[in-house]
């Protein structure tokens, strides 16, 4: 099973940005996405639930939502994100703090099972990020990955 080809690293990264863009649809004002400093793009695929190869990688990106007021719009942004993702057919499988300025939303994309989260910080900032399932770095099985 683990020997099946997958999307490659670049495609996984693009998919993450696509999902985040989906989540951000219709937000007004539109936040500027600022990448988390020193947050690595790649990890090894450790002990995967599908029992497959650990030579695959996991791609992960996280952003701050900048240029928007802190706290005040957060509840509404959370609502909009949930609506956007549900509309796109993804699964919002866990939430916390809805209606407050410190929401937490956990999403699994369908059909490809990327995991996303929107998290409210104690200071009123919001961040959004996503992580891919295990993928072959080059898309085809075989070879050890090169991590950053």
């Amino acid at each position: 099973m683990s020997d099946k080809p997958t999307i490659n690293q670049d495609q996984a990264e693009a998919r993450i940005d696509e999902l985040i863009a989906e989540a951000m649809k219709g937000l007004d004002p539109k936040p500027r996405l600022e990448r988390f400093e020193e947050h690595d793009l790649l990890r090894r695929c450790l002990d995967p639930a599908d029992g497959g190869s650990e030579d695959r990688v996991v791609v992960s990106k996280r952003y701050w939502l900048e240029d928007i007021p802190k706290k005040e719009p957060n509840a509404q942004i959370a609502e909009q994100v949930i609506a956007n993702m549900k509309k796109a057919g993804h699964s919002v499988f866990s939430t916390n703090g809805l209606g407050t300025d410190k929401p937490e939303i956990f999403i699994a994309s369908r059909p490809d099972d990327f995991r996303m989260s929107l998290i409210g910080s104690a200071d009123g900032s919001l961040s959004i990020g996503a992580t891919s399932p295990c993928v072959w770095q080059g898309g085809t099985p075989g070879g050890e990955p090169t991590l950053d």
């Binding site: 996991v58 992960s60 910080s121 200071d123 992580t131």
Partner: protein, 563 residues
């Protein structure tokens, strides 16, 4: 006896008594030195003392004879001369043994001080007696000089003892760079001043304290009293020792361990370069060793590139904000020790120490560093206004096979982990911080062991994928049960019911289920035992908002909080 002879007879008698009182003044010192200070240095002092003893006896003998001759010339009779101890004070006891017996040396110092003063006094009195009767007082001066020499031995021994204790303190650096052009430990110690030896001797005494708060605080204070020049010197010459001292500021440890890293790279590369690939008949040799060294070098490269990424900008200049740097707090590549912090624990608002578990080896370093980095990322996501230092702590022999079923390895690591945490506390100089100890799998047992021994080892204890932490009640961990968290996933055989190892034993499953047992005491995810939140998959809250477990589904994102 004539009147003229009388003063000479009396003087001779006084000299005899003085001689018989002081003839063994050097003996106790010699014996102690001979026992306590072994090796060439001890031998030399012992021989010197033997020579001085002869000189002492000769001085008294001559003084008495000069006065006795005058007494006889004036018709007096003096009786027998002083009876001086002829037995030597034994052979040199140390033989070819090396080393220092601290107690014996300190006793020798006391003897030197006491008898040195006594001999000086005796010498003065002897000179006085001789002068009174018109005889050359030089034997008295000679005895006085011997007294001064003996007094000087107190200082001499203090320096030698300091040198010996200093060597003990930095013994960890003895084998550092053998074969890669680094001077021997003796050569490096030889470059230090007496005062610097004394400072290291003090460190050795602090190292004699049991692991814990007092030792960490005293180590911190010791470092603070050193001059900047001395700190630089010690870091330069003894980086392994300095880099491993709990209680030192994180930057100081980091600078020392960076040196260790570079030395290790040179040493390992040199070894690799000289290993033959084949033997005389062309068969491959040294395959395992080459593999081991290559793995070690790979890990050092990973650590080095993390430091570069975190501490330097694109141009290669150090980043201005040292609070966000990475700090290499410990490194011993041959003994599975890597302690690495993302963020400065001395200044951070939150500190997490992540202790890995079963199967962790030096090659797991890159994966575990990423876990530590991710923890910091998500802590930041949860609270941008506070800083977090996320530490990866590996300094115990993680079980690699069936030794996972015994607590021995954790017993080894627990005290060191506790000492490390106390060291962070001391380095913070009273700054408040919210601390979390995060144990994964077998690592949670090491955490448990540390917690049981060191009260309030952290503000929060988090156990992920834990087989048990060797206590039956949360209170035994000496942290309030409201601050103990446990988390597991349903598909984890380590924490699932029944616990994995029991399945191997016939009847074990039923027994384990009935008892609610993990391998090492109660399963921490059971509410009754640990007081963790009551949901079966609780997630930790507070500054550490997420935990990355290998047992989650094939992603690396945090276990979500319950809805």
């Amino acid at each position: 006896m004539t009147d003229q002879a009388e003063p000479y007879v009396r003087a001779a008698d006084e000299i005899r008594r003085l001689a018989e009182t002081h003839d063994t003044d050097l003996d106790a010192f010699a014996r102690r030195v001979g026992y306590g200070l072994r090796g060439p240095a001890g031998h030399r002092i012992f021989d010197e003392t033997r020579g001085h003893r002869n000189g002492l006896h000769q001085a008294f003998q001559r003084a008495w004879e000069d006065v006795a001759a005058l007494a006889r010339r004036h018709g007096g009779s003096t009786g027998a001369g002083p009876y001086l101890a002829t037995a030597g004070f034994g052979g040199y006891a140390g033989g070819s043994l090396r080393g220092v017996d601290e107690d014996a040396v300190r006793q020798a110092m006391r003897e030197a001080k006491n008898h040195g003063a006594a001999l000086c006094d005796a010498g003065r009195r002897l000179a006085g007696i001789l002068s009174r009767v018109g005889v050359n007082p030089s034997p008295g001066h000679q005895v006085q000089e011997l007294g001064d020499w003996l007094l000087g031995q107190d200082r001499e021994l203090r320096h030698r003892l300091d040198q010996a204790l200093a060597a003990e303190a930095v013994m960890g650096d003895a084998f550092a760079g053998l074969g890669s052009g680094v001077p021997t430990l003796a050569e490096r110690l030889g470059r230090l001043s007496d005062a610097q030896h004394g400072e290291l001797a003090r460190l050795h005494q602090i190292n004699g304290l049991p692991l814990g708060r007092e030792r960490a605080q005293k180590t911190a204070a010791w470092w603070r009293t050193l001059s900047e020049a001395d700190r630089r010197r010690f870091t330069e010459l003894f980086p392994r020792t300095i880099g491993g001292l709990d209680g030192l500021p994180s930057l100081s440890r980091h600078l020392a361990n960076e040196r260790v890293l570079k030395t290790d790279q040179r040493r390992l590369q040199a070894r690799l370069d000289t290993l033959p690939w084949t033997d005389a008949s062309g068969d491959p040799v040294n395959v395992l060793e080459r593999d081991r060294i290559e793995k070690q070098l790979a890990v050092l490269t990973v650590i080095q590139s993390e430091i570069r990424k975190m501490n330097f900008d694109a141009k290669g200049d150090p980043k201005k904000n040292e609070d966000t740097w990475a700090y290499l707090l410990g490194l011993d590549i041959d003994h599975r020790k890597v302690i690495f912090s993302y963020g400065n624990p001395d200044t951070a608002d939150n500190i997490t120490t992540f202790v890995p578990g079963f199967g962790t080896t030096i090659t797991s370093t890159q994966d575990n560093l990423k876990r530590a980095a991710d923890t910091r990322t998500f802590a930041l996501a949860a609270d941008r206004s506070h800083s977090t230092a996320s530490i990866y702590w590996l300094d115990y022999p993680t079980p690699l096979a069936f030794d996972v079923l015994t607590p021995g390895n954790a017993d080894d690591g627990g005290p060191r982990l506790g000492a490390f945490q106390r060291g962070l506390e001391a380095a913070r100089l009273g700054r408040e911080a919210h601390t979390t100890l995060l144990g994964h799998s077998y690592g949670s047992l090491a955490c448990g062991r540390a917690a049981v021994r060191f009260p309030k080892i952290a503000d929060e204890l988090v156990f992920v994928g834990s087989p048990g932490v060797a206590v039956d009640r949360a209170e035994q961990l000496r942290v309030s049960p409201q601050h103990i968290w446990a988390s597991a996933t349903d598909n984890d055989p380590v924490t699932g019911a029944p616990p994995f190892p029991w399945i191997l034993i016939p009847g074990g499953r039923k027994y384990a289920e009935e008892q609610g047992l993990g391998v090492f005491g109660s399963d921490p995810t059971q509410r009754a035992s640990v007081g963790a939140p009551s949901t079966p998959r609780p997630a930790p809250r507070g500054p550490v908002d997420s935990v990355v477990s290998t047992r989650t589904p094939s992603t690396g994102i945090p276990i979500p909080p319950p809805s």
